[in-house]
């Protein structure tokens, strides 16, 4: 089928150029498409052939790198696994992920998210140091099952775009980061739970969550961050009473 005969779909994108635009505007193009084309491929067509200045992040094209999160008709999705055929006949509006500052066009500022990721000590803190010569830890499939789904997070930040609490208060630690914290707490090889409690217990920790639940709804990998956060409300409560009865002092450094 020649290009002239291909069907077309209207793709409208938010545009914003820092230092030039006072506020974002939109721009639309009619893009030739086939049934198997993703929204990302539509954007690439625009950039390659219609307007080279349209700016967006992308990489793997198979929903595992987490680069291409965008608001697609108002819903946070990965552009590479969202298909243009599902937006006929009206077309599609593409905007950058909500609740993040816009750097340019469809690119958001992810520095807050990255800073939070580092803050929860997202690495194994074992009870005893173990040398490589001693071999791997033993971990049964049941033990792995306790944390595995939380380890599937691709850091796409769709959950932050979904979370209105984060939108209203960017100090809130947020779904993905708390899910990652929970992943390590639940790993049988880890002993660092106490060190992570301070983040959990904070007002902007798990207590910033009001169980809207939209984060788990939009998560493309089934991580279920809402569960991770709310599990830790129980942990936080237990910790509060433990500390009340047997104070251990501050763990802050």
């Amino acid at each position: 089928m020649g290009a002239a005969q291909k069907r077309k779909i209207r793709i409208e994108c938010l545009r914003y150029q820092p230092g030039v635009d006072a506020a974002p505007r939109t721009q639309a193009w009619d893009v030739p498409f086939t049934d198997d084309m993703s929204v990302l491929q539509g954007l690439q067509h625009i950039k390659d052939h219609l307007d080279g200045s349209l700016t967006f992040r992308w990489s793997c094209r198979m929903a595992v790198c987490g680069s291409c999160g965008m608001m697609i008709n108002g819903v946070p999705k990965l552009a590479c696994e969202t298909f243009l055929r599902d937006y006929l006949p009206a077309g599609v509006l593409i905007e950058p992920l909500t609740h993040f500052p816009i750097v340019r066009d469809l690119v958001i500022d992810q520095s807050d998210f990255l800073a939070k990721l580092e803050s929860v000590r997202p690495y194994l803190i074992p009870a005893q140091p173990r040398t490589v010569g001693e071999g791997p830890y033993r971990q049964t499939p049941a033990q792995m099952d306790a944390y595995y789904q939380y380890s599937q997070c691709i850091n796409c930040t769709l959950c932050y775009a979904a979370c209105p609490q984060y939108g209203m208060n960017t100090h809130f630690t947020g779904p993905a980061v708390l899910a990652l914290l929970h992943r390590y707490n639940e790993d049988s090889r880890d002993a660092g739970k106490a060190q992570r409690m301070e983040i959990v217990n904070a007002e902007d920790g798990v207590w910033g969550c009001t169980l809207v639940g939209y984060c788990s709804e939009v998560c493309p990998k089934g991580v279920d961050p809402a569960r991770a956060v709310n599990q830790n409300k129980i942990e936080s409560t237990k910790d509060y009473f433990r500390n009340l009865l047997l104070p251990r002092g501050s763990t802050s450094r």
């Binding site: 150029q17 820092p18 230092g19 030039v20 086939t34 198997d36 950039k47 390659d48 052939h49 307007d51 080279g52 200045s53 700016t55 992040r57 992308w58 990489s59 793997c60 094209r61 198979m62 929903a63 595992v64 790198c65 987490g66 680069s67 696994e81 750097v103 340019r104 066009d105 690119v107 992810q110 990255l114 990721l117 580092e118 000590r121 997202p122 690495y123 194994l124 074992p126 173990r130 490589v132 010569g133 071999g135 791997p136 830890y137 033993r138 971990q139 049964t140 499939p141 033990q143 792995m144 944390y147 595995y148 380890s151 599937q152 691709i154 850091n155 990652l180 390590y184 790993d187 880890d190």
Partner: protein
């Protein structure tokens, strides 16, 4: 220009880069390490790797067997002393990853599980479901946050090496968010920038896999070795090239043509039974499987899909339970991108460019010929893959040699003096001016047109099978495309802040040079070996004349000069490379 000082600079935040940075920090806690990556590290292409990482653990396995499988898999073009080092250090790195939290899949008792993989005689591939690269990368990225001496510069595009008096003194980078130029002054640089598969149209690679680091070294006189050896992964989705892991076949998946016939038995990989068994049929090496597809297609026995010819990868006999436990990502991908339920229907697949065996020439300690410059991972040719890489050797390569490069760079950085005042900055300013000039071009070729022409030419002339006329045509086409780009690339986007059109154009200039190195190296290798197969009178392996590496050296605007260098053979002299045969049935755990 802003100047950042660090002892070691690592360019690339994927598996090899992160491992190198961590190794440098652990080697010497007084060192400062700057890691520059054009994407935030968890977006690096390591994340998409699926199948697993090889390491000898079973009692019926030996280092010698892994060595033999690797050398014969590489069709004897491997540096055997490097392979010896490699196989001896795989397990310690995989255990290290496990200690850092990597969720390797386990047996019922809780030990690390291993599976069969193409070209390997014994089960030795450690795997984390079918998302091994994802888990390795996230483990390394999260672990890297433990090291305060490791400063990350996310979304900084490394545009050039700064070389003063024959020694690398730093790198020039573009801060992507603002378009500002930054000079990173350092004692040693590790390049860990990945492969160059995006020079082809049909590939499994992310958009970032553009050979940036290879070109940086190449332009400063470091040879690119064995560039003609490009691996086609036999099972990718037609059209997009999205990867369908070899692990499917390791679990027992089969490949059939349009008649439902397991055609691999016609290509020296049979007999059919018992199945599954190692190094036979669908568990043969990748080059043989991709070549078999090419022949089936020529014979008209492939399935015509809207996205091009394909064969069927049938997993149905594995059962829904096994598919969802061992291959969940594949089930998801097949469903999302092809609308196929892998438990009910076969998945259409075809070969796509997947891996670049060649790269920056290094010795066994990841040192390049340029003082202060190291390289590890897919961007390097340390000598373990030869003419064809075995699956699951690459995910472990990045940690084995990532560590080596980090340690070596750390040691070198300590002893490096400071640069003659200002020379590095002057060179950086000059190069920055050249890069900024690209934003002021008023007439020229469109980058997308040049890129399309390059990709199509590479597919046509330097594909799975090659002929002299086709390779020559590609060489000429690439020279012509390079000349056109020298007359200017016309960009729509003239701004500085987050200008990805500009960065893509810079990458394109590099890709053309890498493609030239590939095409010319292929032309000059007048034999068939591993992934380089010819149909023009050079169909056989020629150990007499070509048991040699190809070294491509940049000649500036002119095409590269190709020379041939010796291959280190220690314990395994060349013999015929055979797969298939009777063998034993595999015991899949």
């Amino acid at each position: 220009m802003q100047v950042v000082r660090a002892d070691v600079v690592v360019v690339g935040g994927g598996g090899a880069g992160l491992r190198a940075a961590i190794a440098a920090c652990e080697h010497d806690q007084a060192l400062s390490v700057a890691m520059i990556s054009k994407v935030v590290p968890m977006r690096s292409h390591t994340v998409a790797a699926e199948g697993g990482a090889a390491g000898v653990v079973r009692s019926d396995d030996k280092l010698e067997l892994h060595f033999e499988d690797t050398v014969s898999g590489g069709d004897w073009l491997c540096e055997q002393d490097v392979v010896e080092y490699f196989v001896a250090h795989c397990v310690e790195e995989l255990v290290q990853l496990e200690h850092w939290g990597c969720p390797w899949s386990r047996t019922g008792e809780g030990d690390v599980n291993v599976r069969f993989f193409g070209g390997m005689k014994v089960q030795r591939t450690w795997f984390a479901a079918d998302r091994s690269g994802f888990h390795i990368l996230h483990t390394l990225f999260q672990t890297s946050m433990k090291y305060p001496a490791l400063r990350r510069y996310d979304e900084f595009f490394c545009a050039d090496l700064i070389v003063v008096d024959g020694r690398v003194r730093g790198v020039l980078a573009i801060e992507i968010a603002t378009g500002e130029m930054v000079l990173f002054e350092c004692g040693a640089v590790v390049l860990a920038t990945g492969g160059a598969g995006r020079v082809y149209r049909q590939n499994t690679n992310a958009g970032t896999v553009t050979g940036d680091g290879m070109v940086l070294a190449y332009r400063h006189g470091v040879p690119l070795r064995d560039m003609e050896f490009v691996q086609w992964h036999p099972t990718a989705l037609p059209g997009t090239g999205i990867l369908i892991t070899e692990g499917c076949r390791g679990e027992g998946g089969i490949l059939v043509n349009k008649d439902g016939y397991r055609y691999l038995q016609d290509y020296g990989l049979g007999p059919l039974d018992p199945w599954p068994r190692p190094k036979a049929m669908e568990l043969g090496p990748r080059d043989r499987l991709s070549q078999a597809f090419w022949h089936e297609n020529k014979k008209g026995r492939t399935i015509q899909t809207p996205q091009g010819p394909a064969v069927d990868l049938d997993l149905r006999h594995l059962g829904a339970k096994k598919i969802h436990e061992r291959l969940p990502l594949i089930a998801e991908v097949a469903h999302t991108f092809m609308g196929v339920d892998a438990t009910q229907a076969p998945i259409p697949v075809c070969p796509a460019v997947h891996y670049t065996m060649g790269g920056i020439l290094t010795d066994a300690r990841c040192r390049t010929s340029l003082e202060g410059l190291y390289a590890a991972g897919e961007c390097a040719s340390v000598g373990i893959h030869g003419a064809n890489r075995l699956g699951s050797n690459s995910l472990v390569e990045i940690v084995v040699f990532g560590k080596v490069a980090g340690v070596e760079a750390a040691a070198a950085a300590r002893s490096a003096g400071r640069d003659r005042a200002g020379e590095a900055e002057r060179m950086a300013e000059a190069q920055a001016a050249r890069l900024l000039q690209m934003l002021r071009v008023d007439a020229g070729a469109r980058p997308a047109a040049i890129r399309d022409a390059m990709m199509d030419s590479m597919e046509a002339g330097v594909g799975i099978y090659r002929e002299e006329a086709g390779m020559r045509a590609t060489c000429e086409r690439l020279a012509d495309l390079r000349a056109r780009t020298r007359r200017g690339l016309l960009l729509d986007d003239r701004s500085r802040a987050f200008n990805t059109e500009w960065l893509s154009a810079i990458e394109l200039l590099g890709m053309l040079e890498v493609a030239e190195a590939m095409a010319h190296s292929a032309l000059e290798r007048r034999e068939s070996r591993g992934a380089h197969q010819r149909l023009d009178g050079f169909e056989q392996r020629d150990d007499t004349n070509f048991l040699k590496h190809s070294d491509a050296r940049s000649q500036g605007d002119d095409p590269p000069r190709i020379e041939h260098g010796p291959v280190k053979i220690t314990s395994l002299p060349p013999r015929a490379r055979v797969y298939g045969g009777a063998g034993k049935q595999a015991q899949l755990s």
